[in-house]
């Protein structure tokens, strides 16, 4: 069955990104996505799930997440409680084994998209603990002597903010893609996906100012896609005159989240 990803109604993917997605689907390897915050890493999985019409299972990784959590959890405490009160079904261990997100994806009848979000948040060894499971798409539950094996190999998307280096053994099994920050042309497309109609003049002014701010030498936290979208919302709701945007940069707080950055921008505005 030929499956290809061509972007979706709400998500503008670059040629290169679409290529990487399709390569990873064809080779049945996890796709590792890195990129600046706000470049839509997480949204990509949603877009793929929409475009291919498949269910999306999201496994959000936190600093305390362990690989085991994704496979299954054996609720010993519950079983202990139940046994004390002589509840029914205590003999059945299976009742206390609950599948995690990975287990859920494996046991699904239809092929699903599995998003392992922000894998770098977890412990350094976390990705290594998943090597076998992602390779073979199966795992064993000793408590019930059962093997959970993927009925349909899920399409696996992994995102990372590069907070930690991922282990080589894990990287070797992935297809890697780095999402670059969109250029003005792509940004225009992205904005048009989010807004039904934005006045052309306003859009030009917004983009010009936005890239000017991103280009400033001393900006510490560069505004990203999600910020520019919020900014346009604010500008449209506030009914700001498009011609004033470049000069006054209204609602700058939406774009810049740090006081120092707002000051920096004001300093440059004087000299512009």
């Amino acid at each position: 069955m030929e499956q290809t990803f061509q972007g979706s109604k709400d998500y503008v993917a670059s040629q290169e990104l679409m290529r990487s997605v399709n390569i990873s689907i064809a080779l049945q390897k996890p796709l590792l996505i890195k990129g600046e915050p706000g470049t839509g890493k997480t949204m990509l999985a949603e877009a793929i799930s929409q475009a291919l019409g498949k269910k999306l299972i999201i496994w959000n990784i936190k600093s305390t997440t362990k690989a085991q959590d994704g496979l299954y959890v054996y609720d010993v405490v519950q079983r202990l409680y139940d046994s004390q009160f002589g509840n029914e079904g205590v003999d059945d261990i299976g009742k206390y084994v609950k599948l995690g997100k990975l287990g859920e994806a494996f046991s699904s009848e239809e092929q699903v998209i599995l998003l392992i979000d922000e894998i770098d948040k977890a412990d350094l060894e976390f990705p290594n603990d998943l090597l076998w499971e992602l390779d073979k798409m199966e795992f064993y539950i000793p408590e019930t002597k059962e093997t959970v094996k993927a009925k349909q190999r899920p399409i696996v998307i992994v995102t990372s903010n590069a907070e930690k280096e991922l282990p080589d053994a894990f990287l070797r099994r992935c297809i890697f893609h780095y999402i670059e920050f969109p250029d003005e042309e792509q940004m225009e497309e992205i904005i048009k996906v989010h807004f039904d109609h934005v006045e052309e003049h306003l859009l030009q002014q917004v983009l010009e100012t936005f890239y000017w701010i991103r280009g400033l030498y001393n900006i510490q936290k560069k505004p990203s896609t999600s910020e520019v979208i919020d900014w346009i919302h604010a500008l449209v709701l506030g009914g700001v005159d498009p011609d004033k945007i470049r000069e006054t940069v209204p609602f700058a707080g939406v774009l810049l989240k740090k006081n120092e950055d707002v000051d920096t921008m004001k300093r440059y505005m004087k000299n512009r």
Binding site: E16, R19, S20, N22, I23, S24, A26, L27, K29, L32, K34, V77, L80, Y81, S83, Q84, A162, E163, K164, L166, D168, L171, R172, R173, C174, I175, F176, H177, Y178, N218, Q220
Partner: protein
């Protein structure tokens, strides 16, 4: 058929494994490159390269390998056509030797020549090896073949593989480049030493303890909590401020931001000095006399378990380092700077020197103090690789 490309990539420092190479061959079998050279480039990169820090190395190797490749007919026809007529060269030939010569230039050299050339140049030039213009082998201008240099205006092109690789726009991600705040932060996370001996409240659920206690309690559940594990690393940061350091202020501020935001340290102390450490050291970077404190106080009160990071360019007048009675900010001193530095080294077993600048390559007078300090301190540049080595050094016992 490309096996030598595999070895070239490895020779250029990319950790390509046989597994990945087999995946690439499999992908080519399946035709995932879509019979286009650009597709081939992205396919190789996606499968073989796993970090944007390595993209530049890959681009370099890719250019090196495929630039003069004799393609056999196993490869798609359009690729052959493309190589016979790479549309970059339609503007006429130019001097290969000049290309190579210019490629060997250092960044500063390029900047200097650029300014000179701007002075000289009065008209438009395209395709040569000297003037600023489009294409050509001069290190200035647009769309040129040279891998480094100054780009003058214009749009970057990104259609063909050579142009994408030739742009080398991932150069900034190379690990030997100097760093931004986030990269610093990530690096500083390595300064961790967990210990549960801290005097914190018992807030963490202890599974083993609970099971043990429950069994002892004849099966009636008894929940046990334990103290959370905490980082015990304490950091003392000493920064050179002002003077010759102004040039590196941005980088140092990024470093400072990263350290001060790293909330995982048990304690962080920051002090400033100018050029070298003398009998007084300052609490603020402006080094106002009011913020001065005795360096001796630090040596006596800040315990030796602190990890010490000194940031400075180690370049000053030799007399500022070697002679006593150097008069600085109201602090008359009989102990020479180098002696103060040695006292720090003696007191703190975990100490590193981060240097934003390189040893002055013209050597001589300016490198003198650098060399003296370098004898006593391990010096590390502010690059990702060096920083990692430095932090590793801070964590281990000598």
């Amino acid at each position: 058929m490309f096996t030598s490309f595999f070895y070239l990539l490895r020779a250029r420092g990319l950790k390509v494994s046989l597994n990945e190479w087999m995946s690439l061959i499999e992908a080519l079998d399946k035709g995932l490159h879509g019979s286009s050279f650009t597709g081939f480039y992205y396919l190789c990169r996606g499968i073989l390269v796993k970090s944007e820090a390595d993209f530049d190395k890959f681009d370099g190797a890719f250019l090196e390998y495929f630039k003069d490749m004799e393609f056999t007919d196993e490869l798609p026809q359009e690729l052959l056509d493309w190589l016979e007529n790479p549309n970059r060269h339609t503007d006429g030939q130019y001097d290969e030797a000049a290309l190579l010569r210019n490629a060997g230039l250092a960044e500063q050299e390029i900047q200097r020549m650029f300014l000179e050339r701007l002075e000289e140049q009065k008209e438009q030039h395209n395709g040569g090896a000297y003037w600023i213009g489009t294409r050509g082998a001069s290190p200035f201008g647009n769309n040129g073949d040279i891998s480094k240099g100054i780009r003058v205006g214009g749009e970057s092109k990104r259609r063909s593989a050579f142009q994408v690789a030739g742009e080398r726009k991932f150069r900034d991600f190379r690990q030997d480049n100097t760093l931004d705040t986030r990269q610093f932060q990530v690096a500083f996370r390595r300064l961790r030493q967990f210990s549960a001996r801290s005097d914190a409240a018992k807030t963490e659920f202890d599974i083993d303890g609970t099971i043990r206690e429950t069994c002892d309690n004849a099966g009636n559940l008894k929940v046990v909590y334990d103290k959370p594990r905490k980082n015990t690393v304490k950091v003392l940061l000493l920064m050179d401020s002002g003077g010759s350091m102004d040039y590196y202020s941005r980088m140092c501020s990024a470093l400072f931001q990263a350290v001060s935001k790293s909330n995982h340290f048990k304690d962080l102390q920051v002090f400033y000095f100018h050029n070298c450490i003398y009998s007084k050291i300052f609490k603020d970077p402006q080094m106002r006399p009011a913020s001065a404190i005795q360096t001796d106080w630090i040596l006596q009160n800040i315990s030796s378990e602190y990890k010490v990071i000194i940031v400075g360019d180690a370049q000053m007048d030799p007399s500022e380092l070697m002679e006593g009675s150097y008069y600085s900010y109201g602090a008359r001193d009989s102990v020479p700077g180098i002696e103060w530095l040695r006292r720090f080294k003696e007191k703190y077993p975990h100490i590193v020197w981060l240097n934003p600048s390189e040893r002055p390559y013209w050597g001589g007078w300016w490198a003198k103090t650098y060399d003296i300090i370098h004898k006593d301190f391990e010096m590390y540049r502010l690059t990702l690789d060096d920083l990692h080595t430095a932090l590793k050094k801070l964590m281990v016992n000598r």
